[in-house]
Symmetry: C2
Subunit: 224 residues, 2 copies
DNA sequence: CCTACCGATCGGTAGG
DNA sequence: CCTACCGATCGGTAGG
């Protein structure tokens, strides 16, 4: 056999395990990923699966990390094509809504689900989720500050308030789409995100059939 | 023994089981409520616990229903003292934030947790959660319509958009408080809720130490 | 990576 | 409401 075969195969096997774990966890939760079921799904023995990670908790951490990588690749990285500040924030919102609408994870936003599941369970998985969330909020806040420095947003805007609201709208959209199966959630969140950023409403998306009024003024998330 | 004793005891026992199930479920999720653990916690046999409900799923439904009753008693019922429309909406927001801040459930908002846990698991528990969420959104929308009819809000306000945003802010506050342990989430949500309703900022709550600017204009959640 | 196994716990049932 | 039990599955280990 080729000298690299076992290493390459091992990496491939690991990726297959993680990919399946992400699918299961996005629907059943990270705690719902059981080693026996995972082994049967990827046609391996339990010991074979567990051997890659050591413990279930390590498997959960690696699964979470891979899911965060997907979120980053879907929402953050494509937004780097836009310049820092308001245009990048607008790009993030577009990609974020698209990520939720397309159902990148079968069970809806993985990070929201993991956040709810582990918000009161102490331990390394909780810490990893909280760190990822804090990092994302800080990233959004940094872009708001850049927009202020660019003169695109008034100095009255509070970066923490804007980040809080954008994140809240994304969670609301995820709930509408996943729990209620209500596609209007994406448009409601999209409108709200653009309003928080003081951006005009874009060409109409699929939304309610209600009569439209002229658009309102931007909604400032001001400092207190 | 008194003729009513067994019935009263049975009811009391049932309440003890449900009360414990709510505590467990708010931290570990509804799926994390196991009959054996519940039995041990309330000092009964597994068969004794299960006999009350028949199946685990029925126990989950009854636990959910009891949690919804608590939410209603904490947030909705005290708001009925305010007249329909804007003043009732303001009261709902106050009680909602207070409910989240006080940690009425040990694991944070039970309904948000259950919504995340069951958003992609079909079945009667999913339906019960979705029904409860739809009812709550419809309740908020009805109050927005009343506020419009009262002339307290402009006809440009979209009731569905307002309800969506209020709910999103509550979820954001819950995440900040539970996942991050960040008490500022309550003030951020409170400010955002009042802004959506066009209400002035109230006397300062415990919030950030940042310098304050004069308050901004109300944030209209207008029809498209 | 495998087979074979560990003790613990799961939801649920039989029989009283 | 109890004891006693069912088959299934859990996370994890021994030994190779």
């Amino acid at each position: 056999m080729s000298p690299r075969r076992s290493t390459a195969d091992a990496e491939h096997t690991r990726e297959r395990i993680i990919a399946r774990a992400i699918e299961i966890a996005s629907v059943e939760g990270l705690e719902g990923v059981s080693i026996g079921r995972l082994a049967s799904d990827v046609q391996m023995s339990k010991a074979g699966v567990l051997g890659r990670f050591g413990t279930k908790e390590a498997l959960q951490r690696d699964t979470l990390e891979a899911a965060i990588d997907i979120f980053r690749a879907e929402v953050w990285e494509p937004s780097l094509l836009a310049p820092p500040g308001l245009r990048r924030l607008a790009a993030i919102c577009e990609h974020w809504i698209s990520y939720l609408e397309r159902g990148v994870f079968p069970g809806g936003c993985f990070l929201t689900a993991a956040s709810c599941e582990f918000d009161d369970r102490p331990g390394p998985v909780h810490e990893a989720i909280a760190d990822a969330h804090r990092l994302w909020l800080a990233t959004l806040e940094a872009e708001v500050r850049a927009a202020i420095d660019n003169g695109e947003l008034s100095r009255d805007y509070d970066p923490a308030a804007v980040a809080f609201r954008l994140n809240a709208y994304a969670m609301g959209a995820n709930q509408a789409l996943q729990l209620l199966g209500d596609a209007r959630g994406a448009a409601l969140a999209h409108d709200a995100m653009r309003e928080v950023l003081g951006l005009p409403r874009p060409r109409r998306r699929r939304a309610t059939a209600k009569p439209r009024k002229p658009r309102g003024a931007a909604a400032p998330a001001r400092r207190r």
